[in-house]
């Protein structure tokens, strides 16, 4: 550890040590926030008054999970660590942009990590070419009118119920194939089913999701 970070650790200790222990004493360890609402709450606390205790809780929960997901999706240890750090830093910086009416904190954090990963790949390509941040390509919301808010909220609900119509097997297959980017053969092994079953399960799950979204429109 460098002298700089020691100093930081020390000042952190005095800054947040006490109040953080208070948070802990509320047994966050045993019953860590499960509901989306609570993560959203913590993000809201960062947005409203730069609450570092809230940030620490988010960091401790999400940074290792983002790192774990990146590793599973094929990133190197160093890349995964960097993306996880950058993701949480972005959570801090963009807290005010988080929309509690959206799909929830984990989905928001997932999109931040995904965008950072795309940017890292683009920047590694060749110097000198200015390519935009991926964030700009995932339909940044227009200025939120009340009408848009209502549409968004009902979209979020419909999307959640469309996902809930998938069987556990189906959502696991989608997750492993697309989010974790694992080859079908590996999924077959992990789920102990034949390769053909994996392929048809993914296909079925996708069309089921699509149909549910259409029906709920």
């Amino acid at each position: 550890m460098t002298r700089g970070s020691q100093a930081v650790r020390k000042s952190l200790g005095s800054m947040i040590g006490r109040s953080f222990r208070q948070v802990r004493s509320r047994k966050y360890d045993n019953e860590r926030p499960k509901a989306k609402v609570e993560w959203a709450d913590l993000i809201g606390r960062i947005a409203s008054h730069g609450d570092r205790d809230a940030f620490r809780l988010l960091f401790e929960h999400f940074a290792p999970r983002v790192k774990g997901l990146m590793l599973k999706a094929g990133a190197s240890g160093e890349e995964a660590e960097e993306i996880a750090q950058d993701t949480l830093l972005a959570v801090w910086r963009k807290a005010a942009q988080f929309d509690p009416a959206s799909a929830g904190a984990p989905a928001w954090i997932f999109t931040i990590a995904r965008n950072l990963r795309i940017d890292a790949v683009r920047r590694s390509a060749r110097a000198g070419v200015a390519v935009p941040d991926a964030e700009l390509e995932y339909f940044p919301d227009p200025a939120d009118s009340q009408e848009i808010q209502i549409v968004k909220r009902s979209d979020t609900e419909q999307i959640a119920s469309a996902i809930s119509r998938l069987s556990k097997d189906q959502s696991t297959a989608i997750r492993m194939s697309f989010i974790e980017d694992r080859p079908h053969s590996e999924i077959a092994e992990a789920l102990r089913v034949p390769l053909g079953t994996v392929k048809s399960r993914i296909r079925l799950a996708m069309s089921r999701l699509k149909d549910s979204l259409e029906e709920l429109k």
Binding site: L12, F110, T111, R117, Y138, R175, I179, M206, K210
Partner: protein, 213 residues
């Protein structure tokens, strides 16, 4: 705008996961930005992405990781949007494309011209804006790879139907088609292409080298 042709779910899922090749990513992004149906599908995949984060096996962060982030928090600088090259010809382009550098227009056949879009070069696909005059019959062609198209203006038709603004067309090597551009106005498309485009017929072979960019 009524969108009749959507991006296939596998592409939308890969897009939501951030795994699409650069040029293809761009075409899907532009289509989905105009298509509520596809945007909802992408949102659903992102929600599953959130569940994947929650379900991920936590990997311990390096020691000093939290402190390092705190240091950077203190130096926090607001994100600044980088200005992009802009000329009058870019007016009317979808917002997403305005952040890209777009090259000069090149004529590739009578009534047909293209403008290359500058990508980072990490992917294997190329992306360009293709403009065809009203009523142009495009050269009969097949692909060795995949061609993704999003109509920005005007329309074209082929065996798959009629494609108007916002519509998404997926072409692969099974398709041997000859699109006909609608007679109402020039047609402008955003196209991403992997592999080579093979022109059929004498004239096609003649201009092929130019189309390969």
């Amino acid at each position: 705008m009524t969108i009749a042709h959507h991006a296939p779910e596998e592409l939308l899922a890969a897009f939501a996961a951030g795994k699409l090749d650069e040029g293809e990513h761009l075409v899907v992004a532009v289509h989905a930005s105009q298509c509520r149906v596809c945007r909802r599908f992408v949102r659903a995949m992102e929600t599953i992405g959130g569940a994947a984060v929650e379900a991920a096996e936590p990997a311990p962060m390096s020691s000093g990781s939290f402190e390092a982030v705190i240091v950077r928090m203190e130096q926090s600088s607001p994100n600044v949007l980088q200005p992009s090259g802009h000329d009058s010809e870019d007016d009317g382009l979808p917002e997403i494309l305005r952040h890209y550098r777009i090259g000069r227009r090149r004529r590739i056949a009578p009534g047909v011209s293209l403008r290359p879009i500058e990508l980072s070069g990490k992917g294997t696909s190329r992306a360009f804006l293709l403009k065809s005059g009203p009523g142009t019959r495009m050269l009969e062609h097949t692909h060795t790879g995949i061609e993704l198209t999003c109509v920005l203006k005007g329309s074209f038709s082929h065996v798959g139907g009629r494609f108007g603004p916002g519509d998404f067309d997926y072409g692969d090597d099974t398709l041997d088609h000859q699109p006909l551009v609608g007679s109402e106005e020039p047609c402008v498309c955003l196209v991403a292409m992997t592999g080579d485009l093979r022109m059929n017929g004498f004239f096609g072979r003649l201009i092929s080298p130019f189309v390969r960019l």
